[in-house]
Structure formats: C-alpha cells, structure tokens
Amino acid sequence: MLIEFICNGKETRVDVPAEMRALDLIRNELLLTGTKCGCSKGECGSCTILVDGDPVCSCLLLAPKLQGKEITTIEYLERTNGELHPIQQAFIEEGAVQCGFCTPGMILSTKALLKKNSAPTVIEIEEGLSGNICRCTGYTKIIKAVQSAALKLQGAEK
C-alpha cells in the first residue's frame, strides 16, 4: 500500500506491504541504518524513532501506521552544517558512548524527554530512558549526558 509521511523533514512516499514493520522500512528501504534492531520485541529500545516527537519502538510498529506522521531518526540530528546536536555532543563529552549500539535509541529517547521536560530530575531521566537497555556503560554516564544536554539546550534557548 502507498503511504505518505514526513521522514527527517522530507516528504516521503513509499509502497509497502501491509505487514512490513516500520523498522524494516527505515533500515532496508530508506537505508537509514542508524536505527538499530536489538530484539524485535519492544524490549531493548535500540530501534527507537520519534513519531510526531514521541519515542516509539519501530520494531513493534507497522509501516502503514506511519501514514500522515512525521518521523525523526538519528540521521536527522546532525545539523546540515555538520555540527552535532547538543545531545550528541553531550553523549560524546560525558563518555556515555561505549559500543554505541544503544546510542541512537538513547539519544532519541533523550530528545523526546527534554522536549517535554527541559530540566528533568534523575528519576525523570530514569523514567524517560527505562525502555532503552545499555549493556556497556552502567548508565551513570548516560544520565550525566542527559543532564549536560539539558543545560546546553537551556543555554541555547536563552
């Protein structure tokens, strides 16, 4: 079936089988492989994308459901001038990236969180990222990165 949606700021029209997952559409058809697959069951958060600004496990979402929506994947965070998004910067600076496989999902969940709550407490950060598993870092540096990104973004607004 033909669907139309906005992907990373671009109007996108694709013909997809009704049973195709959004994750496969994004990775295999749109070739946006920054979105990862760690479990296919909604248990790890590696496949997180933003749908109308909300974090969603794209492995659980059928592609046709994207009809009329606006989606963001990790590829859209870097500015066109090559500058990293403040959240991306914060993840690197705070040492919140080890193997990096969870990172795209973590960053997008962070983006959604900070949009709703520009100065989250640690508990709110834990809530916001509870669907994203990271086996490498022990999470402490991820929390620091979110806090630092929040400050950067607040600074940018002023």
């Binding site: 990775r27 295999n28 070739l31 946006l32 492989t33 920054g34 979105t35 990862k36 697959c37 760690g38 479990c39 296919s40 069951k41 248990e43 790890c44 590696s46 994947t73 990790i74 590829e75 965070l77 870097e78 990293l84 991306q88 993840f91 690197i92 600076e93 705070e94 040492g95 990236v97 080890q98 193997c99 990096g100 496989f101 969870c102 990172t103 795209p104 960053i107 950060i125 834990e126 990222l129 509870s130 994203n132 598993i133 990271c134 086996r135 490498c136 870092t137 022990g138 999470y139 402490t140 540096k141 991820i142 929390i143």
Partner: protein
C-alpha cells in the same frame, strides 16, 4: 619510559569514533546492503540431545524466496569449530545433537522472512536421547558420554606447599560450597556477519566479532582454501564481553560457505533468541572451598575444588578452567594451596569467555569465605584481608613474585578510610535492613597461561603530519582505539585529531590474537608504543639535520619538532615528515610486543603466568526492604590498582559497566532451563540491568607503575565484575545475617529467607 610531562596519556580524550556512533553513521555488520544479498537462517534443534536420523529439506524449497539449504555435507572443509583443542564442535551438527539450539542446517532466502519460513519447513527427524543436564549427571559412574573423550572437558591442578599439613595444624578450618548460574552476555548488537565473494577468488567477510583472525582461520578451514584467500573485516561491534568469538566463527564460516556456493553476498544476523541459546554464556559453577587459618587470622592453607558446567562443547573452557584455577585462592599470601579446576560437558548451551573469565565465580566463593572467617575470628573483615594481602615481593598462588605494581594494600586502605567516613542511614526504619560488604580481588593481565601473547602494530606518519595506526586488536566499545591513539599521540607529539586508527582488516594488520584478558592496553599499547617510537626516531633524526643539532636537543610536541631549550625554535611536523620522506627515512614501522612467555610447571601450575595483575577492593552498602526483598544499593566504591590510567573517563566507564554486569550476575541475571531448554531467551524474561537497576559506582584508581606496560599501564576491562558481585553477596550477608551460597541472590531468594526466620 618516565612519566614526566605526559600530555596525552592520562587525560580524558574524547572517544575517537564517538562521532560516527552518535550520528548513526557507523556501520555495524547488519547495516551493510549489497545487491543480490541473500539471508541465512539456521534450523536449530529443540531437543537437548538426540541422534539426527533424517533431514528433509524438500518442503523448504516450496517457500517463495528460498534459494538454497546448506547441510553439513555441503561444507567443503572440516565442518569444524573451536578456538582451542580439542576442536570438538561442528559448524552444523551432522549425527548428534548436543544442546537445544544447536544448528544443523542453514536456509538461504532472498529475505530474512523467506529464509526463516524455509527453516520452519525443514523436517528433521531426531531420535531423542536422555539429556545430561547437571554436573552430577555428567560425572555419574555409568553416564553416557557426550563426547567420545568422556564428560570431562579439561581438568587442571594447582599445588603450592603442603595443604594437608596446613589443615592438620590449623587453629580454624572453615569449609563450604558455593554455586553460580549461567550469565548471558546480552550485548545489544547480536552476532552478525556478511560474506561477499569477490571476483579475485577471495572472500571478504564483515563481522561483528572479537577476534577476526579466529574467524579467518575457521572460514579457510571450512571452505578448504588457504587462509590467505580470506579477508575478515571487523565492522563496528556492538559489545562483545568475551562472547563474539565462537558463535561469530560459526556464522562467519556458514555465511562464507553459502556465499561461495551461491556466488552472492550472504548475511546472517542472529535473532535475540538465537544469540542467547546458540552462543556462549558464562559457565555455571560449583565451588567447594576450605580455608585453614591461625587464631590471629593468618591464612595458612586453602583447598578448593572448582566444577564448571561448560555445556555441550569445549569452546574456551580450557582457558576459563585455568583462570579460575589460578585466581581461586584470592589475592593473598598463602603458603599451602591445592586447587582442582574442571570443566564438564552437559547437554546445554556451550559456555565460553565472559568478562572476568572464571574469576567472578571463584571470587564470590573466596570472598564469602573471607567474611565467614572474619566472623568466626571476630575480626574486622577489612583487617583480615589486609593482614593476608599480597604486597610487592610476595609469592602469589602460582609463586610468581612481582616487585612492583602490587597496590592491593592501598586499595584496602582506601576502602577502610571511605568506610570510616560513610555512615549508613542512622534513622533506621523498621522496614529496612542495612548492610555493607567488601571484596578484594585480583585478575591477571595478558593471555598468560592460556597462550602466547604477541601483538603487532603499525604506525605510519604521513607527509601532512597525520598518522595512521594499525593493530589487530578489536574495539568493542571499551575505548581501545582511543587509548592506542593517545599512546601514539604521546610518542609522536601529534594531536589526537590527526590520528586515525584503521579498522581491523586481516589483510592489513598483523594477527594480534584475541582481544581478551584485559590485555589490549598493556600488550597492544606496548606494540603501538614501540612502532611509534621507531617512526619518532626517523622524525628526530630528520629534525636534527634540519636544526643542525643533536637529536636529544629536540622534542616532538603539539605537531611541531622543537628545540628543548628554545620553545620558539620549532618546525611543523608535517615539514619534518616531508623532508624525512624525501631523505629516505622510514615513516612507517611494524613493531611487535610480546608478553614474557608464561614459564611454569604445568603439573602444579607454579611459576610465572601473567605480565601483571590488576588488584581491587570494592565496598557496597545496601538497603533491603523486609516486606518485598527489594535491594537498593546506597553506595558502591570500586578501588583498583590498574597501573597508570591512560584515559580516566574511559576508565570510569569500564568500571561502571563491568560493575553493573557483576551486580547483574550477583542479583538479577539467571539463565533458566527446563528439560535442557532455555526458557527465558529474551530480554523481558532474562533480566539485563536497566537504568532503574543502576548502581551508584564510584571509581577510584590507585596508580602504581607497571613496568610491563607502556607508561606503566595495566588493564581494567574485566576486574570490577568480580569485585561488584562478591561485595554484593557480602553486603546481603551483612544486612540479613544469612549467608547466601548461590548467585544470583535474587529479591525472591532474599524474601524467602527472611520469611523463614
């Protein structure tokens, strides 16, 4: 190698591949896309043991999109897996199934879905046999033999002094038995490979893996072609922790065989369930532990029997047996030790390397016993550890002596200080129990007794003043590329932004063995240090000619060659590089670093084994909710002597990550079997720690100078797993007064025991 005025080593340089990772540009194996790509999906046994009678693949071909089915007979070479002798594992099972999840054929399809549907349509007739599921069943007198050699994979002994005499003369003898469960690596990226036949009669394989050279060798053996025909490139790898070795060689070999047969690229990405049931996990263990001591707390003897349940195949069991053997007596001065360490075959998922390599299991037993001994002697547990702790010049369990870089006492003293300052909440509510636990540990750095340890690294300076580093050790997230870049930058006086680390490509870097045993920084770092040193000498020679002075009047710093006595007299390094090139001074070097060979009596495991040890002491304070059994970690401090720390932030990251894995082992994670089948092969039922399970780890490093590592480094990747797991167990015992002898100690276990009281 004096450590004065270091500019790159010792600072928290940003991860050099961070940018690719945060932007999603980094290509992991599953991210490749080639025209005509085929996907492979394995048929796996649902039974734990059985004889394969027939495999009917005819129905599979009726599924649209199914292209081919690979059976054992289609593997041109040896159908063999196994990094070490006894090489007892087939790539595809041919006659006998030895664990539930073992694969016996591979279906190729034009899509993953087609291959998967094809695999479901394959009809296998497997005659069931009664599986052997426990150590006791495997060791029973008339037990069926899982392998022709019997059910003992490997067994080793360590004998120092006369333990019988020590026990006869002891004031106090304590003994007990401890057990630990299997633990799953649960790297977020599952195993994945992509094999591409190239027009030049060679094959290229991209792999998510820990040891590309292992894969290369296996592919050649299974394709029956010379090793030189095979090229393996390590793609970005989403975690490994010891695990992406055996299964990676399995699917690497299969993908290569399939790709050559079809003349098309073939990708195999394991699903999460396959990654759990069909790839190594941490050995479950049963450890019988005896301690002999004097009244004053001097430990005089230990007798330890370690049984490791290794599952269906040997994989890296021989290494894990050695590591457990050597470390089981703990980081203490003990004159009389007798240890026996044995791995056993059972009809379960095979076990292999996992962060810590047998040390977390034995450290749990050892440190639980230390606390019990302290209790018996009415001694402070930290004082007891301090009294027996290894110091420079002491003989450790294998009678190896280190004159330097034995910082154990300092780690204990640090924890004594911190513990004195730390007060558990004084307003104790009825509902909660509070407790603090300690654990000391050590972990050998380098391959040691497990094999020759050589790393080759190349350093090439370019005419624009940048440098390219090649090394055969893999970046798995631990930050080794950044560490190697820092070492090269330090030696060459080049800034980090001008340094590039090659992807590990078996064509272009030297076989450096596996990335294991916390050896990258020490042995790998030394190779980079030496190669960079050779290039540096060319640059110094050239700069001396240019300045018309002696080489020792010149230093390389901040991308310049400058005079020692006049900072303003400087020439850009790029000009020195150009001049060196045209003068014919070599700008590239391949150097090797070889750890001193382990030199020991194989019968009793006595002698020099490792190039260094990491020493550590952990403290963990917890609060237990009596109503629910819920545990909250209030404080966790990990103090390690890891030698010189190259990158403090990356170091903390290693400690924090490893500690949470140790906490998972001790409290949350448990592979559960029913009739030999893993019943929780997913991330919902198998509890990998989430952000809500996080522990507040504080990292403290006691820097000693290790003469066998560049700038005095050692390693840190694995040791905190043991420290965190063992200190957790002791904290629970301290809080509840109950000694739990089995890991994990789950919330339910705690609750059940509290109700019983």
């Amino acid at each position: 190698m004096k450590n004065k005025e270091l500019t790159q080593v010792g600072r928290s340089a940003l991860k050099i591949d961070g940018r690719e990772l945060v932007t999603g540009k980094a290509k992991f194996s599953g991210d490749f896309n080639f025209p005509n790509l085929l996907h492979g999906y394995a048929c796996r046994s649902k039974l734990a043991a059985g004889y394969i009678k027939d495999i009917d693949i005819s129905q599979a071909f009726k599924i649209p999109g199914v292209v081919d089915v690979i059976l054992p007979k289609d593997i041109p070479g040896g159908n063999i897996l196994g990094i070490l002798p006894p090489y007892d594992q087939p790539v595809l099972a041919e006659k006998e199934i030895r664990y539930a999840g073992e694969s016996f054929c591979l279906v190729l399809g034009t899509s993953v879905e087609a291959a998967k549907a094809g695999a479901r349509a394959v009809k296998a007739t497997i005659e069931p046999i009664v599986p052997i599921l426990t150590i006791d069943e495997a060791l029973a007198k008339d037990a069926r033999k899982i392998h022709a050699s019997g059910n003992i994979t490997v067994s080793k002994k360590l004998i120092k002094g006369d333990s019988t005499k020590a026990f006869n003369e002891a004031d106090i003898i304590l003994e007990d038995t401890f057990e630990t469960s299997n633990q799953e690596h649960a790297y977020m990226e599952t195993e994945a490979v992509c094999a591409i036949p190239s027009g030049d009669d060679r094959i290229t394989v991209y792999a998510s893996c820990q040891s590309p050279f292992h894969i290369r060798g296996h592919i050649a053996a299974n394709l029956n072609v010379p090793v030189a025909k095979v090229k393996v490139i390590q793609a970005y790898t989403g975690g490994s922790f010891g695990g992406k070795d055996d299964a990676a060689t399995e699917i690497g070999s299969l993908a290569a065989v399939a790709a050559v047969r079809q003349g098309k690229p073939v990708m195999i990405c394991l699903e999460r369930e396959e990654s759990i049931v069909g790839s190594t996990i941490r050995h479950a263990s049963r450890i019988h532990y005896r301690i002999a001591a004097k009244k004053d707390g001097t430990i005089t003897g230990k007798e330890i029997k370690i049984l490791l349940d290794g599952g269906a195949y040997a994989a890296e069991s021989p290494f894990v047996v050695m590591k457990a053997l050597i470390h089981s007596a703990g980081p203490y001065i003990i004159d009389n030790i007798k240890v026996e360490s044995t791995a056993i075959y059972t009809n379960k998922t095979y076990c292999g390397a996992f962060r810590g390599f047998g040390v977390p299991q034995v450290t749990f037993a050892s440190e639980s016993m230390m606390d019990e001994l302290a209790k018996k002697l009415k001694m402070d547990p930290l004082e007891l550890r301090r009294k027996n702790a290894l110091k420079p010049g002491d003989l450790n369990a294998t009678s190896q002596v280190f004159q330097e870089s034995v910082g154990l006492i300092e780690t204990i003293d640090k924890v004594i200080d911190l513990n004195r300052l730390y007060k558990l909440p004084s307003e104790r509510e009825e509902r909660y129990l509070y407790g603090t636990g300690f654990a000391s540990m050590y972990q050998g750095i380098s391959n040691g007794a497990e094999g020759i340890d050589v790393v080759g690294a190349s350093v090439q300076a370019m005419q624009d003043g940048s440098a390219l580093i090649g090394i055969g050790l893999t970046e798995l997230g631990q930050g080794s590329r950044t560490v190697f870049a820092q070492i090269a930058a330090e030696v060459l006086g080049i800034s980090m932004d001008k340094i590039t680390i090659k992807q590990v490509d078996t064509d272009s870097v030297h076989d450096s063995g596996p990335t294991v045993a916390s050896r990258s920084t020490t042995v790998g770092g030394m190779a980079v240090y030496k190669a960079a040193g050779e290039v540096k000498s060319s640059l110094l020679k050239m700069a001396a000619l240019m300045f018309k002075t002696e080489e020792n009047n010149i230093i390389l710093k901040n991308n310049f060659a400058q005079l020692v006595f006049d900072e303003n007299a400087k020439i850009p390094l790029r000009e020195v590089c150009v001049a060196a090139y045209w003068t014919g001074f070599p700008l590239m070097n391949l150097s090797f670093s070889k750890a001193p060979e382990a030199n020991y009596d194989q019968e009793n495991t006595q002698g020099n084994i490792y190039v260094a040890y990491n020493y550590g002491t952990h403290m963990m304070s917890i609060r237990i909710d009596k109503l629910t059994g819920e545990v909250k970690v209030l404080k966790h401090v990990a103090v390690h002597d890891a030698g010189k720390v190259v990158n403090p932030k990356a170091f903390e990251g290693q400690v924090e990550g490893a500690s949470l894995t140790g906490f998972g082992l001790a409290h949350l994670e448990k592979i559960q079997y029913r009739d030999g089948v893993i019943i929780n092969p997913n991330l919902a039922d198998y509890a990998v720690p989430t952000i809500n399970d996080r522990i507040p780890s504080e990292t403290i490093s006691i820097e000693t100078y290790n003469p066998t590592g560049p700038y005095g480094v050692k390693g840190i990747g694995e040791p905190p797993v043991s420290g965190a797991a063992a200190s957790f167990a002791n904290a629970v015992a301290n809080a509840t007064g109950i000694r739990f002898k089995k890991l994990p100690i789950t919330r339910q276990d705690i609750l059940k025991s509290l109700i019983k009281i």
